[in-house]
């Protein structure tokens, strides 16, 4: 099938606009970026490669999710057919569903593939990463969220003289009041963009020992991630850095798992790595079935030796 | 005839499974190795109602269902037999005696606390000179006005260091032999009970986390109202309680055996020697078939004895047979499991080493295998 006529891109995070446009470009004839704000925001989208931009005026105290009616209106005005791409964060997923309801469009979160062969079809993981499901879209419009690095993004040139249109703010029927917002202490790294990742699993006995993983990461010039229990059970690391079906999907060159058992829900996030290395004291840990290199041993013994050897 | 568990029994099994996987498995090896009583498990176990099995709802219990208890005990023992012991001492050996024989005042005061895990109880029958021959009690209870004065010492008492509630068997009349034994409730900390003390935990082969100690009674004064049942009824109370307890022991043994089999199945499919998994050898397969068959039989006997008990049918023979067969199965299966794990089976790398040590106890406590055979023969030859 030929390209889609229209693709709309919206990102609640400025950092994702370029890669969403890069994903959109090979799929559509015309890519329209929707931004909240005025000239500076529109220019940033143009610099990232958008030829057409719809700028919705920013409102005091309105959360991004409450721009859904405005974004829907902008898309409706532009034809409401084709594809809407959003960044797959919590905000993006909330918006996606709100747009889907408003525009009677199919919604797919965290796409693992978008295909145009024989109609628009979008794949995503199901059953905890055990399988990929493909949904063939029958609505004129589909709303899809995409995680950082999950889909190939074409390089995009800045567009000089992009067409900038003025959108309108449509107030939500049931506005949500923002009471308080705080930045999280210590910005987490974007692991999806890391080339080398050292991953902490429950094989670590206590939080203080995580410095071992940090030492290894600095020795190889990489970042530290973890399995879900380390972030959600123990709370030793940020939730943004756990790897897996409900966490980050890696695209790294090297992934080193320390004391990670290698359950499927975790491995689907790690399998995108080119080389997988595992340290685990249990010979039968599933991780060894997914590894290129491994050692059956105590991470407390292996890691310091590894760090020393790499220095 | 339907061999299925009821929906509730299945949900109870799932509940215990969830609890042991979440809460107990991470500590199971550590508590055994360090002989540490898992204090932190008591409140969550109570919250789930695991001390309220087979107790009337009016006291906060769950009502009678011995099959459900057997299912729970099996599930618990798969991960930590010590936890199953702690639960058993409470649910089968102590609270049922109070429910049946204590005054209303005692029941209302104590049973809710036992169900809530605020008071643990222990069953004090065995003495240095009264093991299998439980009737040859030396502990004395002498009536003085409205009280009894207890003197003597008990051995091998599960949960004793942690207990507030002691069910003590003692002689009220040495001339009457078995008919001279009576049962008493001694509450640690009550006035008059200053002379009750517990010793150091025995250094056991297994079940390290369930503490077993001596209980010494020196001029312990208990109100006559704390006598459970009539004077002379003690031995009957002890024996009927052990009848019930046996079901729990059988279930625990079944759980130990099942855990050992599960580990063996996984290991023998994985371990490659002579170019193929060891499970591909017929000799190994036959061992596994025997292990699985015996476990199946043990479980059926255990559930049948429990079901007979709940229907009010005679179950002395059935309970004894289930206890005998299940515990000997646990020993048989865990020994084979260690064998099939090879050298690793003889290390702490796999739980089968601990399971084998735990299985041995089941053949000894709550009536040794020999005593079960005596009971069974007595019933059969009647």
């Amino acid at each position: 099938m030929s390209k889609l006529a229209n693709i709309y891109v919206f990102s609640d995070k400025p950092s994702r606009i370029r890669d969403l446009i890069g994903v959109a470009t090979p799929l559509g004839d015309k890519v329209t970026a929707i931004v909240i704000g005025a000239q500076p925001e529109a220019q940033a989208a143009a610099a990232a490669g958008a030829a057409t931009i719809i700028a919705i005026p920013s409102q005091e105290g309105v959360i991004v999710e409450d721009y859904a009616p405005s974004i829907a209106e902008a898309i409706r005005g532009a034809g409401a057919a084709g594809l809407v791409l959003l960044a797959a964060g919590k905000r993006g997923k909330c918006l996606a569903a709100k747009l889907g309801a408003a525009l009677r469009a199919a919604v797919v979160n965290e796409a693992s593939a978008i295909s145009l062969d024989g109609g628009l079809a979008v794949s995503h993981m199901v059953y905890g990463g055990l399988a990929n499901a493909t949904e063939t879209i029958s609505s004129p419009l589909a709303v899809v969220t995409v995680a950082s690095g999950a889909l190939e993004a074409a390089p995009c040139q800045a567009v000089a003289g992009a067409e900038i249109r003025q959108g309108v703010f449509v107030p939500p029927a049931h506005p949500i009041r923002l009471v308080k917002r705080e930045a999280k202490a210590g910005q987490a790294v974007d692991l999806a963009a890391s080339r080398r990742v050292v991953c902490v699993g429950r094989g670590f006995a206590k939080k203080e020992d995580l410095s071992l993983a940090g030492d290894l990461a600095s020795a190889i010039g990489g970042d530290v991630g973890c399995s879900r229990p380390i972030a959600e059970g123990e709370g030793w690391m940020e939730r943004e850095v756990y790897v897996g079906v409900s966490g980050v999907m890696l695209n790294a060159d090297i992934y080193i798992a320390l004391g990670v058992s290698g359950q499927i829900q975790h491995m689907v996030g790690a399998n995108g790595s080119k080389t997988i290395i595992a340290v685990n004291k249990d010979k039968n840990a599933p991780i060894f079935n997914f590894a290129d290199y491994g050692i059956v041993g105590d991470l407390y013994k292996v890691v310091p030796a590894l760090v020393a050897a790499l220095k | 005839m339907d061999f299925q568990l009821s929906e509730e029994q299945t949900l109870i099994r799932n509940m215990v499974h969830e609890f042991v996987e979440q809460h107990v498995r991470p500590m199971a090896d550590e508590i055994d190795r360090n002989h540490r009583f898992p204090e932190e498990s008591i409140a969550p176990m109570a919250e789930l109602g695991l001390f309220g099995f087979n107790l009337p709802e009016q006291y906060g219990g769950s009502g009678i269902d011995s099959v459900a208890y057997a299912v729970a005990s099996e599930e618990m023992a798969k991960v930590s037999a010590s936890h199953a012991m702690i639960m058993g001492s409470q649910c089968t050996l102590t609270t049922p005696i109070l429910v049946k024989y204590a005054s209303d005042e005692i029941k209302e005061r104590i049973i809710p606390k036992m169900i809530a895990g605020e008071a643990l109880g222990c069953f004090c029958l065995t003495e240095p000179g009264a093991g299998c021959d439980a009737a040859s009690q030396r502990t004395s209870a002498v009536r003085q006005g409205d009280s009894y004065v207890l003197n003597g010492s008990k051995m091998w008492i599960t949960n004793a260091p942690q207990s507030k509630i002691f069910i003590v068997f003692a002689m009220t009349d040495f001339n009457k032999g078995v008919k001279g034994i009576s049962a008493f409730l001694v509450e640690r900390g009550a006035p008059g009970a200053e002379g009750l003390s517990t010793g150091h935990p025995e250094e056991k082969m297994g079940m390290g986390a369930s503490h077993t100690t001596e209980v010494v009674l020196k001029n312990v004064v208990v109100p006559a109202a704390n006598r459970l049942g009539a004077e002379g009824q003690g031995f009957k109370i002890a024996m009927e309680t052990l009848d019930g307890g046996r079901g729990g022991g059988a279930a625990m043994a079944t759980g130990l055996a099942q855990a050992a089999l599960d580990s063996t199945v996984a290991y023998t499919k994985e371990r490659v020697q002579f170019g193929r998994p060891i499970a591909a050898n017929q000799g190994v397969q036959w061992m596994i078939a025997d292990m699985a068959t015996r476990i199946e039989c043990a479980r059926l006997m255990t559930h049948r004895a429990a079901a007979a008990k709940d229907s009010g049918l005679p179950c002395t023979k059935e309970s004894a047979m289930a206890k005998l067969y299940a515990t000997e199965t646990a020993m048989y299966v865990t020994e084979k499991a260690v064998q099939l794990h090879g050298g690793l089976g003889y290390t702490r790398a796999f739980a089968v080493e601990r399971l084998m040590r735990e299985a041995k106890l089941t053949e000894i406590f709550e009536g040794t295998s020999e005593i079960q055979r005596i009971v069974i023969a007595g019933q059969v030859l009647r």
């Binding site: 569903a97 993981m125 290129d292 030796a305 | 509730e8 695991l50």
Partner: protein, 258 residues
């Protein structure tokens, strides 16, 4: 306050097998309550415990042959809810989120509610949108990603832990809130709640009974396949003696210095 906690019955993923042609064999997978919906149920009963006077209805839509399983119904009821409403119809098997949300919306309208809680996504298709779709279809406020809820007077305060910020929002009731897995640790049902489950009321609705009208389909699931296993080298060193560690380091050094 009337709270509805939505819960889906999904196959136990541990028991799903991958067939040689990479399709899935679900035949051995027992039905269970979707993991994240347990968080929604727990959140509902915690609100009830805090506010004292709330009624919690569990709502599940699905195939009649699944929801007809009385063990699974007792399982839901043993989790602390006051009653269970089922929309059971075999045509609901394998429906996509837009359909599911419209069924739940019709059922919720009939039951009445102040607050609806959903999990962040189901254990089977994990579409992560039913809560928001439901809110939009019902024409009430809705939000996702909620890691704390405090019920107020006619409102709820919710905390969302987002990728780089934490925000507190106030939603006017009625509202639909999707909660995250770390909002709570769902309690394990107790012996008592299991035994009481069979005595709690269950209402079984039909699609006609709730006035359900199927929306025009927006998508169809055309294939479900396990990903191809990428071939890994599997060079595993069995042991951590100094010599083993040295061999391990030497084996991976070329990768690390590449």
């Amino acid at each position: 306050m009337n709270i509805i906690a939505c819960c889906k019955i999904v196959p136990e993923d541990q028991d799903i097998a991958v067939k040689p042609d990479r399709t899935l064999d679900l035949s051995k997978a027992e039905p269970k309550i979707s993991q994240y919906d347990l968080n929604a149920i727990e959140a509902a009963i915690q609100i009830k415990e805090q506010s004292g006077n709330a009624n919690v209805v569990a709502l599940s839509a699905g195939a009649a042959k699944t929801l007809g399983n009385s063990k699974i119904r007792k399982d839901i009821l043993s989790r602390g809810v006051d009653s269970l409403t089922l929309v059971a119809d075999d045509s609901l098997e394998g429906r996509l989120p837009a359909d599911t949300a419209s069924v739940l919306a019709a059922a919720a309208r009939k039951t009445g509610f102040d607050l609806i809680l959903c999990g962040e996504g189901s254990g089977d298709i994990y579409a992560q949108q039913v809560g928001i779709l439901l809110g939009e279809m019902l024409g009430v406020a809705s939000i996702n990603g909620v890691s704390r809820i405090t019920a107020g007077d006619g409102t709820v305060l919710v905390e969302r832990t987002l990728e780089d910020e934490i925000e507190t929002l106030e939603l006017a009731l009625p509202a639909v809130v999707s909660v995250t897995a770390d909002i709570n640790t769902p309690r394990i049902p107790s012996l008592k709640t299991i035994l009481a489950a069979g005595k709690k009321p269950t209402v079984t609705e039909t699609l006609d009974g709730i006035g359900y009208q199927a929306p025009a389909p927006v998508a169809a699931m055309t294939s479900v396949k396990a990903p191809e296993q990428s071939d890994r080298k599997k060079k595993i060193i069995d042991g951590d003696s100094d010599a083993d560690i040295k061999a391990f380091i030497e084996s991976i050094r070329p990768e690390l210095t590449a």
